[in-house]
Amino acid sequence: MARAFDILIVGAGQAARRAAEGARAVAPEASIAIVGEETHPPYDRPPLSKEILLGKADASLCCKRDAASFAADRIELILGTRVAALHLDDREIETASGERIGYGKLIIATGSRARSLPAPAAIADKVLTLRTIDDAARVAAHLHEGAHIVVIGAGFIGLEAASAARARGARVTVLEAADRVLGRVFPIEAAARVERLHRDAGVDLRLGAKLDEIAPDGGRVRVSVGAEKLLADLVVVGIGIIPNTELARAAGLAVDDGVVVSAEGATSHADVFAAGEVTRHPVRGASAMRIESWQVAELQADAAGRSAAGAPTAYDAIPYFWSDQYGVNMQMFGLIRPDGAILVRAAGESALIFSIGADGRIAGAIGFNAGADMSIAKRMIGAPAPVGLEDAATPLRKLLRAGATA
């Protein structure tokens, strides 16, 4: 007889932890287990590319709970165990070793994996992605004065790695194929600020750089870009992540980029929910989206966990994201509308960049060292953009109040 749990969570990252906590909160008696390939208990990833690379903290900063804490909450951890298949008709999952584990409700929290670049075996330990605790430890070991770090991809992970590498005295070259950084996320007005931050910090930021080859070269890595050869002690590959949707797809669940879920985290099968950034979930003011963020792994997963445990709970948060580079705090709320207008409200090193939709309403806001104004901007999302929004001399709080009474 296979072992079985009322709630079984596939995947062992932050979303799995949070889904388990959500389920536990509404179902004190339910048996709950997390099964996944990771060998560490579930942990949060934001510090990996920040405090851990900076050497300011060790991996424990990522761990909101240790194994004993999961045990105390009667959340069983089945780690180092790859799930090979979902048998929805039998209400069982099958592990790579052929064990079957039964469930009442299944939560898919398989997250994402880093997109990698093929590298010869001789330099495989010097061409690294940055996704796990072990990745972060390997990358951090290379960040020291005199080292040359080549970062491939100017997304958030690559840029945070660049920031940490500079802080630790390494020489840094960032190669980005597009003509700007953060192309998927930030409008050009915000991206240009980020580019300036990196160049001011001494990063050799190369836009429109087409990578030709990565090859061994006398114990180092030779990175070929056109006619130029860069010699690197470490190459950090930050070219995006791929949602781990294979299990869901093979089981016949609806998948569209991510595992398609309702606001409550329900998939196309009544016994199956999905949690975290593997999901494509409804987003306020948009069609459904797959969003790669701490917030989704935390709050959408909490809702999915509660829903799976019998207390339907909708996730409806305004999308939120943050990054910290060179001591500059960046935060983003809402969505950036490509068809709308951008409005910049800047004062010295502090700036708020608003995305205004075609309907004249504030769709999103990005802050650079914006402090408490970020909290105010969040409360303005969805409201008509007030007159004078770009005037940094008018306190944002005043505009918020004016909007509330209008």
């Binding site: 705090n329 408490a372 909290s375 709080r397």
Partner: protein
């Protein structure tokens, strides 16, 4: 533990925090429904001053990553912080704010 005079009650605004120091240790004062409360100024998640955050009723939102704390108790309400911040006893004497630490 002893009482330290840190501010005048009138200096503590209604909708934002006031950062004060006791022996170099930063403490954030807030006013909620007329009452003054004191909690550690340093967010338990990152190097942020909670006094510089956004006050919403009895809650303070951290200016760096939106962690939210109960001003009256220091209890963390939403992440990314996971640990509470310390809260301190407060008394008002002759218009002055005293904090016990």
């Amino acid at each position: 533990m002893s009482w330290h005079q840190v501010a005048q009650a009138d200096d503590v605004p209604e909708d934002e925090g006031l950062c004060v120091k006791i022996d170099g240790h930063a403490i954030a004062l807030f006013r909620v429904e007329g009452e003054i409360y004191a909690i550690d100024d340093l967010c338990s998640h990152a190097e942020a001053s909670l006094a510089a955050g956004f006050v919403d009723g009895g809650l303070i939102e951290c200016p760096l990553h939106q962690a939210c704390f109960d001003i009256r108790t220091g209890k963390v309400m939403t992440g990314p912080a996971t640990e509470d911040v310390r809260s301190y006893r407060v008394k008002i004497e002759g218009g002055a704010v005293l904090v016990e630490r």
